[in-house]
Symmetry: C2
């Protein structure tokens, strides 16, 4: 019997997934969490074979949970299950050594198949992801990403400079660089592009 924990904040999908996986002969859903923190606690307590993690959840994201599990001693295999085919997310998932990264654009039946393969030690990544991740490499440095993130919150350069202990001019320079890299004509467009690709 494969013991599974599901972490997904949207109740309808979480419940449906639970019911349908439970219908499979060889799978047992031992826990359902609605946010990252609950998932983390549940995995440590129940020691399942596999956990399914959504990325965008309140509190800890699925990627946060994956990173933490990697640091710890858990033997639980991690499957990221998300809507977003964003190369940025995928990269970060790879860094956290996940066993699978699957899109919600699959059927539950296919998901069950993937779970079985992963338990046997295989890796499963959605093809679409792999293709994208070659093309759309994040061109931004850490600093640039940080500045773009603050900008996206609505901070002015002066405020960002103050927060990061930089001069306002430097922040402007970074933004100038960002705009060129992303081929955007202004902040707003840069933010849109970067969000779209999952770079911030």
């Amino acid at each position: 019997m494969i013991r599974v924990v599901i972490a997904e904040d949207q109740r309808m999908l979480r419940g449906a997934l639970g019911t349908l996986l439970e219908l499979e002969e060889d799978i047992e859903v031992v826990g359902q969490a609605e946010d990252g923190d609950e998932a983390m606690a549940m995995i440590e307590r129940l020691d399942p074979d596999v956990c399914l993690l959504d990325i965008e959840m309140p509190g800890m994201t699925g990627l946060d949970v994956a990173r933490k599990l990697k640091e710890g001693t858990s033997r639980c295999k991690v499957i990221i299950l998300t809507t977003f085919a964003r190369p940025g997310y995928f990269e970060r998932a790879l860094e956290a050594d996940v066993a699978g990264y699957l899109l919600k654009d699959r059927s539950v039946e296919e998901l069950a198949q993937s779970i079985r393969k992963i338990v046997k030690g295989k890796k499963e990544f959605d093809h679409e992801l792999i293709l994208k991740s070659f093309k759309d490499d994040n061109p931004l440095t850490d600093r640039e990403r940080e500045i773009l993130r603050y900008s996206a919150q609505g901070y002015t350069y002066k405020e960002i400079a103050h927060t990061l202990f930089l001069s306002a001019g430097t922040v402007r320079n970074y933004m100038s660089e960002i705009l060129q890299k992303l081929q955007a004509k202004n902040k707003v467009e840069a933010i849109r592009i970067a969000k779209d690709k999952g770079w911030i």
Copy 2:
């Protein structure tokens, strides 16, 4: 037997929903669409009792479909089924005379109950929505919304002015007004706030 069409772009949820509703004694899922246009065609062809429409789909949104159905002669009851408790969406749904507006934060079992009630002529709206819609009223005029939407795409005022046959100064004036209404200190923040509330 209650005949239902489901329109939802995310395959996993669509499939799961289909399977689980099909398990109910009195419900029959007669069609599943993955975008708004397909849903529209399917509803006209199959004449179901109820359709479940996601809002954010490629092509026509669920709200678009609801509006079109209202104009036409279909007797099909519309249920909007979405993640977003945004007052803006809710208002627009009411204008399209939908029979239900439910969040994906419910279980499938509860959804089935709501479908039954709606078929009998009742209306079903998620309480959360109703509360929010009193508080967070959209303060923006149509013109202002339009301008903010263009801004959110990354257009400069000059470009927006050109598109809408206005002067650049007028566009700036509108934005100035928008910033005050939303209590934002700049464009970026205004866009963030408005998106958050579902106003654009």
